[in-house]
């Protein structure tokens, strides 16, 4: 049994509590569509990293700036677009945290985790918009 596709467009203020409430709503939608715990974890982690980046690094926690989140959950895939009001950034300028010289740096791993857990990730415009997709590869009732 599979639930109907879910689409939503939400604008949230630059507050991590709001981001977590939205993540919980998306998580409920993923479970309703029968996504496995493994896929839900991957999507939750990518959302956490991308929303923290948008709120902290993009909008600099500015309460006057907002984050626009558009997402769609279908039986086969999850797609999300996250846009902040910051100046953007060039992902290729972010140092590779797996390089020996960077491996012990305490930060800078969010983008790497997003790429590792999602099927595709793209930055747009000046870098203040990210789109991510996760193809569903589990089966309802099984976690592998």
């Amino acid at each position: 049994m599979t639930a109907d596709p879910v689409s939503a467009a939400v604008t949230i203020p630059s507050e991590l509590g709001e981001a977590h409430a939205l993540q919980a709503r998306i998580e409920d939608g993923l479970h309703a569509c029968g996504y496995t715990d493994h896929d839900v974890f991957a999507i939750k982690l990518a959302l956490e990293e991308a929303l923290v980046n948008a709120i902290k690094h993009g909008n600099q926690m500015d309460p006057d700036k907002q984050v626009r989140v558009e997402y769609r959950i279908t039986a086969d895939r999850f797609d999300v677009r996250i846009a902040d009001e910051g100046p953007g950034f060039n992902p290729s300028d972010v140092p590779d945290p797996t390089e020996p010289g960077n491996i012990e740096r305490p930060c800078g791993r969010g983008l790497l985790l997003i790429r590792g857990f999602m099927s595709s990730v793209e930055y747009h415009g000046c870098g203040n918009v990210v789109t991510m997709s996760k193809l569903r590869n589990g089966h309802p009732g099984g976690d592998e």
Partner: protein, 121 residues
């Protein structure tokens, strides 16, 4: 009077011989303020309480983002600086992927369970 953020317990520490076995109270290690406090409590074990062998048991942890990784790396460095040792154990499969993707499984010692973690010191 200004209210203080609740200073609730975030870690359970049990001494087994000279090894501090640390369990996380929270299922989700998220939120900068929370992670800051967890980091402070972990660093206090080394800096103030003089522990040199620390086993972090992740059995309770269901979700953890990259923000927590920095604290683990700093704890690892602190222990290395005093000839101590940090070992992690009982990490859920999905969270283990976080360590593998970031290649931190190459610099942090990870054991499947508490017993093998205790034996690795």
């Amino acid at each position: 009077m200004a209210s203080q953020p609740a200073r609730r317990r975030r870690l359970e520490v049990e001494d087994i011989g000279d090894i501090a076995v640390v369990q996380f109270v929270d299922k989700k290690i998220l939120d900068e303020q929370n992670i800051q406090m967890i980091g402070d409590d972990l660093f206090r074990l080394v800096d103030e309480l003089g522990r040199r062998k620390v086993l972090l048991n992740f059995a309770n942890v269901e979700f953890m983002s990259s923000a927590a990784l920095g604290k683990l790396i700093t704890l690892h460095r602190k222990l290395q600086a005093v000839q101590g040792k940090l070992i992690l154990c009982k990490i859920a499969k999905e969270i283990l992927d976080v360590f593998k993707i970031t290649k931190l499984d190459k610099i942090l010692e990870i054991k499947p369970d508490e017993q093998s973690g205790l034996q690795a010191f």
